[in-house]
Amino acid sequence: MAHQAHAYHMVDPSPWPLTGAIAALLLTSGTAVWFHFHSLTLLTMGNILLLLTMYQWWRDIIREGTFQGHHTPPVQKGLRYGMILFITSEVFFFLGFFWAFYHSSLAPTPELGGCWPPTGIITLDPFEVPLLNTAVLLASGVTVTWAHHSIMEGERKQAIQSLTLTILLGFYFTFLQGMEYYEAPFTIADGVYGSTFFVATGFHGLHVIIGSTFLAVCLLRQVQYHFTSEHHFGFEAAAWYWHFVDVVWLFLYVSIYWWGS
């Protein structure tokens, strides 16, 4: 298709931005309807529409890049900037929750007993499951780097093995964290300690699930020969996101689990 005299990507008209926007409308109004009128219909519709939009939009990007060759070097540069900016915005998102934690924990109010952890809160031992979780995520950082080098060196089998291992470690973290949540001696309703703990670690856990899903999609693509040793930006984006998730955990571990205990 020699229709353009430039290296940039003029995308075909697409319905997914509209369906995505309506999904956001259904999710927000669905949440309000759930809270006030106890009906989950709108919220469920919103979630299904969101999943359909994400699936088809990203499927189309894979078609445009891998099958149509639209991801030229300048286009890829733009995609890199985009991913970096997105991750930066996520850093600021987490910064807010760390701000909340330090605001409450550096100067604990008399209502909490004037101390941190607050009176009556039994904290988790940072050297038990939380330390294991730290090891799991650090190991997954090593395996995802191994996967990257395998892809760059054209080692198909090793890339698949190391990527699979990374995903399994991600699942293991999620499982362990789920067990911790179930067994924890405090809840989200236990004052500002519970709020800061579960909101910060909860959003982190959600990002682990998102990152694991992203890596799983990359695994499927690697098996289907989508990645070449020179061009595999989808994988790089997933690896950057995964390292970000790992770093957030390290800050969570040091601040909330260790210093805050």
């Binding site: 298709m1 995308v11 075909d12 008209p13 697409s14 319905p15 997914w16 509209l18 369906t19 309506i22 999904a23 409308l25 259904l26 109004s29 309807v33 006030h36 009128f37 219909t41 709108l42 519709m45 919103g46 299904i48 529409l49 359909l52 939009t53 088809q56 499927r59 189309d60 078609r63 445009e64 891998t66 099958f67 149509q68 060759g69 198909r156 089998k157 698949i160 093995q161 098996v223 289907q224 020969y225 989508h226």
Partner: protein, 83 residues
């Protein structure tokens, strides 16, 4: 005894790793040819009939969902008074 273990290792390595991967053939060149066909079909429909079905289902949900939001909004704005 050790030679038996070695043989078992080799067999399991072969069956678990290579045969599972050998079954996946490289369809990328075929897909590249398919999606580069100059037929004017936009990317979100270019995959075939299943694309159209999925698109129609998504759009139906979009329209139905929007209508339902407006309905719920009207219901919430004009609550039924008890006599």
């Amino acid at each position: 005894m050790y030679r038996h273990i070695q043989a078992l290792q080799q067999v399991s390595r072969r069956t678990l790793s290579t045969s599972a991967l050998r079954q996946v053939e490289n369809k990328v060149p075929h897909k590249q040819k398919h999606f580069q066909e100059d037929n004017g079909i936009p990317i979100h429909l270019k995959g075939g009939a299943s694309d159209a079905i999925l698109y129609r289902a998504t759009m139906a949900l979009t329209i139905l969902g929007s209508a339902y939001v407006i309905y719920e909004l009207v219901c919430a704005a004009f609550p039924k008074k008890k006599e």
